[in-house]
């Protein structure tokens, strides 16, 4: 019963600006996906569209082959835990933590109340507190509780770690992995903070300015890159013919980030004249999306 959540040719325009340019993404069942992109890349918009919370200007979005738009059955299996707004139409959001929990209990078909209460206690969330009075960190934690306890076969978290410090972030990923080990459900986590995330995401989708620039297995992607440094001429010789993404020069030394096939990289590593080291997901992300700053 493995259902894929898929978008093809997705276009979204806000006012006069096209925010998503013909995006093709596919989320297979049972994987933990990382949707990474800079602020403003369009992550939330993409997630909104694929969960039918916003309509797309063009393209098809399907879950298990059926369109998601106004599809009661499909939407019952997808949970989109987005940032909870502290301001509602006429001022402060006066709903309380327990209101969100209650609503979730009444609306999510697979809701696990016990687990939810456990998490609330673990995070130290005050049930009676108004959402508008919560700190950023607590707000993130509420979102996390809603997502994890929803038990939805496809659970999407939009920047869940935005308000969390590093200790809380690591805790979150532990919880996520624990739950994943038990339920094997599909998780899609959007974030731009990558330190702890890289070892958690089996697959990764990189969104840059409304375009999907990479999509695939995290490990396989990261292993295509190397950091090469040494004397300028030797570096240039060593990386001839490879795709160079970043360059740093200082005096006679030069350092570059290259991307190439496994064969070429293995050969490169045999080269005694230059120093080679691998990149991590964060550095790959910066190399792929940070260039515009010159």
């Amino acid at each position: 019963m493995a259902k894929t959540l898929k978008a093809s040719g997705l276009v979204k325009v806000y006012g006069k600006k096209e925010v998503l340019h013909s995006v093709d993404v596919e989320f297979e069942s049972g994987c933990i996906y990382g949707l990474i992109g800079r602020n403003g890349a369009g992550k939330t918009t993409l997630l909104s569209c694929i969960t039918a919370q916003t309509w797309a200007n063009a393209g098809e979005i399907t879950y298990g082959g059926e369109p998601v738009w106004e599809n009661e059955k499909a939407l019952g299996e997808i949970c989109f835990a987005r940032e909870i707004s502290q301001i509602l139409f006429m001022g402060q959001n006066t709903y309380k933590v327990r209101d969100y929990l209650r609503a979730a209990k009444l609306l999510y078909p697979h809701w696990d109340e016990q687990y939810a209460q456990q998490l609330v206690d673990r995070f130290g969330l005050e049930r009676k507190k108004r959402v508008s009075a919560l700190s950023k960190g607590m707000l993130s934690m509420l979102t996390i509780v809603l997502a994890l306890a929803s038990n939805a076969p496809v659970t999407i978290l939009d920047e869940p770690v935005a308000g969390l410090d590093v200790v809380a972030r690591e805790d979150f990923y532990k919880l996520l992995l624990d739950n994943y080990a038990k339920t094997q459900r599909t998780f899609i986590v959007s974030t731009h903070i990558l330190d702890e995330a890289a070892s958690v995401f089996e697959k990764v989708i990189i969104l840059d300015d409304g375009n999907v620039i990479e999509q695939g297995n995290t490990d396989e992607l990261v292993s295509q890159f190397r950091y090469v440094s040494g004397k300028e001429e030797q570096v240039d010789e060593a990386v001839a013919g490879m795709k160079v993404l970043l360059e740093e020069k200082a005096g006679r030394s030069k350092a570059v980030v290259v991307r190439s096939s496994e064969q070429n990289l293995q050969q490169l590593e045999q080269n005694p004249d230059v120093d080679i080291s691998p990149l991590n997901l964060q550095k790959v992300f910066v190399a792929l999306t940070g260039q515009k700053e010159g």
């Binding site: 532990k174 992995l177 490990d219 691998p278």
Partner: protein, 126 residues
């Protein structure tokens, strides 16, 4: 098994290497059970798929085998297999780097060999 993961090699390779190290050190004896995919994932806070990839690598190399419904076990002769494998890789992983470094420090062959002899004799009484 508490070694921290580094960013120098793919995580699944590190998992495989750590298991191999432990087998060599006798932490897991032949025919003994090793931690499951989920246990390894939990220990290192990594995706179970990654842990599985590392374990499967060792299964492919016949260092581990799977007992249906129970878990992963160290194969007969695993220690020997690991030693053989590492010996073959020794040249690429250690010797080449050693020679390169020696070259950049202008250490001649005779001096290098002398250093090796010295290090070996230092390790003798064990």
């Amino acid at each position: 098994m508490n070694a921290r993961l580094n960013e120098q090699t793919s995580i699944y390779l590190q998992i495989a290497q750590m298991l191999e190290n432990d087998i060599l050190r006798g932490i897991y004896l032949e025919e003994e059970q090793v931690p499951s995919t989920n246990e390894m994932a939990k220990m290192f806070s990594i995706n179970p798929a990654t842990a599985a990839k590392g374990i499967n690598l060792l299964v492919d190399e016949e260092i581990l085998y799977k007992k249906r419904g129970i878990g992963m076990f160290v194969s007969q002769g695993a220690v020997e297999k690991i030693r053989k494998k590492r010996k073959a890789a020794f040249y690429n992983n250690y010797i080449k780097a050693l020679v390169t470094e020696a070259k950049s420090l202008s250490i001649e062959q005779e001096e290098l060999l002398e250093m090796i002899r010295k290090a070996q004799s230092e390790q003798q009484p064990k």
